[in-house]
């Protein structure tokens, strides 16, 4: 396991990039006039509230699981809300682990509503709702606070989903989606937003987002009478567990070739690191969730939310490496799916 981030960066900076076969990301974006990459106005605060999770997924870039103890405190959550109040960021995007497993999760949702957040996203793995009695009422809680639910769904078939996310995950996810539908989530024109995230279960890039959404909608409706709003197709970035897999399966070089060949300058214009900040469970600030997992704090005098200063932070260059090709391939990729 290449859990240590410096070892991962060594891999990403070496091999086919060091020997000149493929261009470094920095050089590639310089050719299209995008270097250095700079932030625009902050719109989205993506917060990792802890690595604890009831699942252990093969592709997880967070390395999350039931034995992880890193968890965000209520004090750090309060500091995040201060940023929302001062910057006017309109979206809070909670990730984990399973965000719902943080003991202060419900408090945070309630306080965020008071702070005037327009879009409160929870990246829910769905199975958490059925994992334990204390989570059974989550759908009603989500509804009460108009939480925007975004859930991973690797495929509309049982085999592919369970292979990536663990045995039984597909059936539990289907039940959870049906429960959410039953109270109004994901129904056409319903204000209760339910979106799904698709990421490839292997060493290949996601196909066209609109075509995949059509296939998912048709299959889930016909087989399980499930509705949802949008499907976000997300590219797996070559870091953490997925990087281990690429190397162990002999797919690393081909995957990097595929990412570089699919480079799209139009996607660079809209990469999520330009309007999003990623906050770690312990309050450190990163350009994105992936840089967070690589331990690459923002290149600024301000690196922790207790010292937050919008002006100073906005005057920084975004830290990039070869994993960034994952966000600029094809139609681009972000936590909200394609960007082009």
């Amino acid at each position: 396991m290449l859990a240590e981030s410096n070892k991962q960066l060594e891999v990403l900076n070496g091999g086919v990039f060091a020997n000149g076969e493929l261009p470094y990301f920095k050089d590639k974006i310089a050719k299209t006039g995008h270097f250095p990459l700079r932030p625009r106005k902050l719109e989205i605060l993506q917060i990792n509230v802890g690595y604890m999770c009831n699942q252990v997924c093969e592709h997880c870039h967070v390395d999350a699981g039931p034995d992880r103890k890193e968890i965000m405190t209520r004090e750090t959550m309060s500091l995040c809300l201060d940023i929302v109040r001062t910057t006017g960021a309109h979206t809070l995007d909670l990730t984990g682990g399973a965000p719902e497993m943080n003991p202060d999760f419900r408090w945070f949702v309630e306080e965020a509503a008071k702070a005037g957040i327009k879009d409160f996203i929870v990246r829910s793995n769905l199975t958490i709702i059925r994992a334990n009695k204390k989570y059974h009422d989550l759908p009603e809680f989500f509804k009460k606070h108009n939480v925007h639910v975004i859930s991973s769904m690797p495929h509309y078939t049982r085999g592919k989903t369970d292979k990536q996310r663990g045995d039984g995950v597909f059936d539990k996810s289907i039940k959870a989606l049906q429960e959410l539908n039953a109270i109004g989530y994901g129904i056409p024109n319903s204000p209760l937003r339910l979106d799904l995230v698709y990421n490839p279960s292997g060493a290949f890039l996601p196909g066209d987002q609109a075509a995949m959404e059509r296939d998912f909608k048709k299959a889930l409706k016909e087989d399980f009478k499930i509705d949802f709003h949008n499907l976000f197709a997300i590219t797996n970035l070559p870091i953490s567990r997925f990087l281990d897999y690429l190397i162990a399966s002999g797919n690393y070089e081909d995957y990097m070739y595929a990412l570089v060949e699919a480079y799209n300058p139009a996607a660079v214009e809209n990469v999520m690191c330009t309007n999003t900040l990623s906050i770690g469970w312990d309050g450190w600030i990163y350009d994105c969730d992936f840089n967070q997992m690589l331990g690459l704090k923002v290149a600024s005098k301000i690196q922790h939310i207790r010292d937050y200063n919008e002006t100073v932070l906005n005057d920084r260059n975004i830290i990039i490496s070869q994993h960034c090709y994952g966000c600029t391939a094809g139609a681009g990729s972000s936590c909200q799916g394609s960007v082009v």
Binding site: G202, F204, G207, A211, M212, D215, Y257
Partner: protein
Amino acid sequence: MANSYYDPADLRKFGNITEWSEELGNRFFEYYGKVFEEGALSAREKSLIALAVAHVVKCPYCIDAYTKDGLQRGITKEEMMEAVHAGAAIESGATLVHGVQMMNKYNKLSM
């Protein structure tokens, strides 16, 4: 030179064929790209046809390319294998239907 006729890394170099015949190469790739766009058939359906044909013409590059393409489009392994069977059935049918020619000839020559 490689020691075998097929090198998987050569697939990445496919575009290089334009270097020795630019106009024809470019026209081919333009045509190729157009063929696989959404049309009366979906791009998904065309991907499965391409996979079946790839097996019939026994092109290892095409098999790699359209297995990956199918995965990217969310096509399942069961769908892919059925497509291969469709190709195989036509190919074996094409052999067997010549059995009629053999029967005709046999009968003509026999007393």
